[in-house]
Symmetry: C2
Subunit: 158 residues, 2 copies
């Protein structure tokens, strides 16, 4: 989990796509102009999103992109994992290489726990939550004991 601005751009674009895909596919040009992101950069991001099967594409006139799943079934963590490089092994946080005294380095557990924490937070929030600005609930639930059921039933507010 890398948390760069790249992931933010991707989530912004995905939110825009979700909002705009009311009727038919959305072109990257539209997203680019609305979100002020360069078209080519978006193309790179969406290539990864497509490979991760989060969006699907239709070529030709009238084509564009569309969500592969409903916004309730796309977690923010899915998006970020799809576009971000796996964070490079910086001595620690990569299983090996952080054995100063024979076992894992002192701070290993800390980064481990932090990473898990962030992941839980972002995987407890769906695209739908972002669209509905339904965030505080998800935040408190991130650590567990949250009842808030993900409604999978409701179709196509998309």
């Amino acid at each position: 989990m890398k948390l760069s601005t790249k992931g933010r751009y991707a989530v912004m674009a995905m939110a825009d796509l979700a909002l705009a895909s009311q009727d038919g596919p959305v072109t990257l040009s539209d997203i680019a102009s609305r979100q002020s992101i360069s078209l080519s950069y978006l193309e790179q991001l969406f290539a990864k999103l497509r490979r991760a099967d989060i969006v699907s594409s239709i070529r030709g006139p009238g084509g564009g992109y569309r969500l592969s799943r409903k916004p309730t079934e796309i977690r923010i963590s899915d998006i970020i994992v799809a576009v971000d490089e796996p964070l490079r092994a910086t001595r620690c946080s990569s299983a090996k290489g952080c054995l100063a005294d024979g076992r894992r380095c002192i701070t290993h557990d800390l980064w481990d726990e932090l990473g898990r924490h962030i992941y839980l937070f972002l995987s407890s929030i769906t695209l739908e939550d972002v669209l509905e600005r339904r965030l505080l609930g998800a935040a408190s639930g991130a650590l567990g004991r949250m009842e808030r059921p993900k409604p999978v039933a409701e179709p196509a507010t998309v």
Copy 2:
């Protein structure tokens, strides 16, 4: 809150310092060789830590660094804030510049909430906690009012 590897190095060094400062100041050379971090890099980090009044220095032979406060009073967030640059304004997450439709962009609250979340987590953990490997408790405390629920799912390598 920036969460780069720079902050990790700083926390590793601080943990090392805390462990080694049983008797007298600790030299950066010692920390450098134990933690495999370059001496000059450490010097840069500790210059910032000193400016933030987290450590204090003694020059000359027998000198070195020492914690300014007790490990129970040094929060991990203090360390990271001290060494990391304030994250640059990347369109969103900087109050202005993210007004696509007149007000704040759709994902603004998300990043806001995430940032607050990470900060709460890291400020709920002290250096002492890291030394004692007392992490899960602190982690659960990050959000306040929860007793100790284990994280729900085991996320893939975050």
